[in-house]
Amino acid sequence: MTLLRVQNLKKHFRTESGLLTDITNKIRGKKPEYVHAVDDVSFELAEGETLGIAGESGCGKSTTGMLLAKLYEPTEGEIFYRGDKFSSLNGKKLDEYRQNVQMIFQDPFESLNPSMTVYDTLAEPLRMFNYSHKKNRIYRVLDFVGLRPPEEYINALPGELSGGMRQRVAIARALILDPDFIVADEPVSMLDVSLRAGVLSLMNDMTEEFGLSVVYISHDISLLQHMCDRIAIMYMGKIVEIGSAEEIVANPMHPYTQALINAVPVPDPNQDRSRVELPGEVGDAVNIPEGCRFKHRCPEYIEGVCDQEPALEEKTATGPDRKVSCHLYD
């Protein structure tokens, strides 16, 4: 069953704002400028599915995550949660959504309140939604995230815990309201390599045990490949390719996906990987180019053709359940 349906989602941010800017713009006859952080993104997420969103910094992947968690309001487009429109959620339904959707952030040093003990951190969401048997729930969830025995951790402040333990507390906080959907934005990129695997396998257990749908946001494709059923690749606010994790990594179709995967270093000195050097850098998200957004860097650029914007769709070569937005395929 579809848990979440995202339709033509857009989020644009003003580059400058404020009364003074408005006035000077008016005098100069200048139109306000917008950063097109997320620009027409559509996908579906099934119940129990894990979707990875990959891309370079500034591609809009984190903004997409914030939109899914309803931490931003979209500029255009709609998200449907179990068939209900996001924009019309209010009152009880909105409360319900807030409980069912949780976020795990990148930096466990900043996402936990330094003056709240582990117990308080976990009790707060329970109090807000009037849960009873707080203590039981807290002990159970601490045990699940591997902070055992829980008695040893409940009175600790974040400052007394290591990065790995803190991220476990953040995961416990995300799980305490028994959600059905989690957005995890770079959940392990601040952790040391030897501890990462532990947090990742905990997140895998969490997905299975709680039957959760998860959107993982990361720049690290090798990691998403391990964690996700499907992967979406974003470039300048758009999804350029989406499909099963295995397929995307083994057989990338979009030239950008190919470059991204080729650039991942391999921990094997005898492996010679082919290098595609992309010219230039990610374009300007304010003045979006006409046509394909990747055309200035694309090694396969076809004059004339690529000046038309390609649609994200199934192609003859993609097979079902896979979409790519590139004129190379028909």
């Binding site: 370079e56 790995g164 390599v193 030897s194 990462r196 532990g198 921990p267 992309l278």
Partner: protein
């Protein structure tokens, strides 16, 4: 070229004295790339800072020597050390964002470094242009300020600056960690082609096992202030001997191995203000015995054949038959140690 002998670097902290680097010996030959791999707090950055003479005020070299082409850097005064910086040894820091001065243009900053070391240089501007071309930046942009550059461009500008005086040794501390993967790939590619041109050696300090596999000739693995294993990249990645190295490799995802299980090493590194008496990895090691708890192992040749492959483990003779074949199974590392 660079010889670090039995180096101890300590920090004074509120918990007492922290031995961040403990008895480290490394050797770097002319034209060689050495990678130092380890996790946060293992002492790898402290080692780099000690070599460059830029330890923070609460850190000091307790004992040992750092010889660069025969001169002991540790015994030099700050003033004398400065002569070496940039000219002979230069550093590519992790964050170019903080390393560049925001109120000067990039050109002014590079020329300042050139002026100090080579006051007679007739045309420092041409050095800036040459370096910008080398790192793939448009020389016209040298007259801009750091904030007008993107992150990747700033890192390239930093590389241009560190190479401006043709240093014999480049110290790169996590040179690409702050960058996206495509930019990382381009910068690493650029560094190695420049290195071939100017024939310099490099010490790369990183937590990224894959970066080392691709750019270095030799690797030293650090754990809790000590070197636990060193060898050529082929030896370390093909046939590691130290349990920590084996564990680290399991924890690191490889994009070419979709079915690989990621396995973490149980437990945490020890507190260096109060390090254990025996092997520092013992309480996380699946092979540890009583001997490991009691006695600290020294860095020894792993076998009679490979003279340059050394590991600090009491059980090097058992690795072949015992741990290495089992290292990729999760049960081997699972333990009721909570993290």
């Amino acid at each position: 070229m660079l010889q670090v002998n039995d180096l101890d670097v300590n920090y004074e902290s509120s918990e007492g004295i922290v031995q961040a680097v403990d008895g480290v010996t490394i050797e770097l030959n002319e034209g060689e790339n050495l990678g130092i791999v380890g996790e946060s707090g293992c002492g790898k950055s402290t080692l780099a800072k000690a070599i460059l003479g830029v330890l923070p005020s609460n850190g000091y070299i307790n004992s040992g020597s750092i010889e660069f082409r025969g001169t002991n850097l540790a015994s030099l005064s700050t003033r004398e050390q400065r002569e070496y910086k940039w000219e002979e040894i230069s550093m590519i820091p992790q964050s170019a964002m903080n390393a560049l001065d925001p109120v000067y243009t990039i050109r002014e900053q590079i020329i300042e470094a050139v002026d100090i070391h080579r006051p007679d240089e007739p045309n420092p501007d041409s050095i800036v242009d040459e370096m910008f071309n080398l790192v793939g930046l448009d020389p016209n942009r040298a007259d801009q300020y750091p904030h007008q550059f993107s992150g990747g461009m700033r890192q390239r500008a930093m590389i241009a600056m560190s190479l401006a005086l043709d240093p014999a040794l480049i110290l790169a501390d996590e040179p690409t960690t702050a960058l996206d993967v495509i930019m990382q790939d381009q910068i690493l590619n650029r560094i190695s082609s420049i290195q071939d041109d100017i024939d310099s050696s490099m010490l790369i300090i990183t937590h990224d096992v894959a970066v080392v596999a691709e750019t270095c000739d030799r690797v030293a693995v650090m754990y809790a202030g000590e070197i636990v294993e060193e060898g050529t990249v082929d030896q370390i990645f093909g046939k590691a001997y130290h349990p920590y190295t084996l564990g680290l490799q399991n924890a690191f995802p490889n994009v070419n191995k979709p079915d690989q299980d990621l396995i973490s090493i149980p437990g945490y590194p020890p507190n260096l203000a109060d390090p254990p008496t025996g092997c520092r990895f013992a309480d996380r090691c699946p092979m540890a015995t009583e001997e490991c708890e009691q006695e600290s192992p020294s860095l020894n040749q792993v076998d009679a054949v490979n003279a340059d492959h050394r590991s600090a483990c009491h059980h090097s003779d058992r690795i072949d038959t015992d741990l290495r074949p089992k290292a990729q199974q999760a049960e081997t590392w699972s333990e009721e140690v909570t993290q």
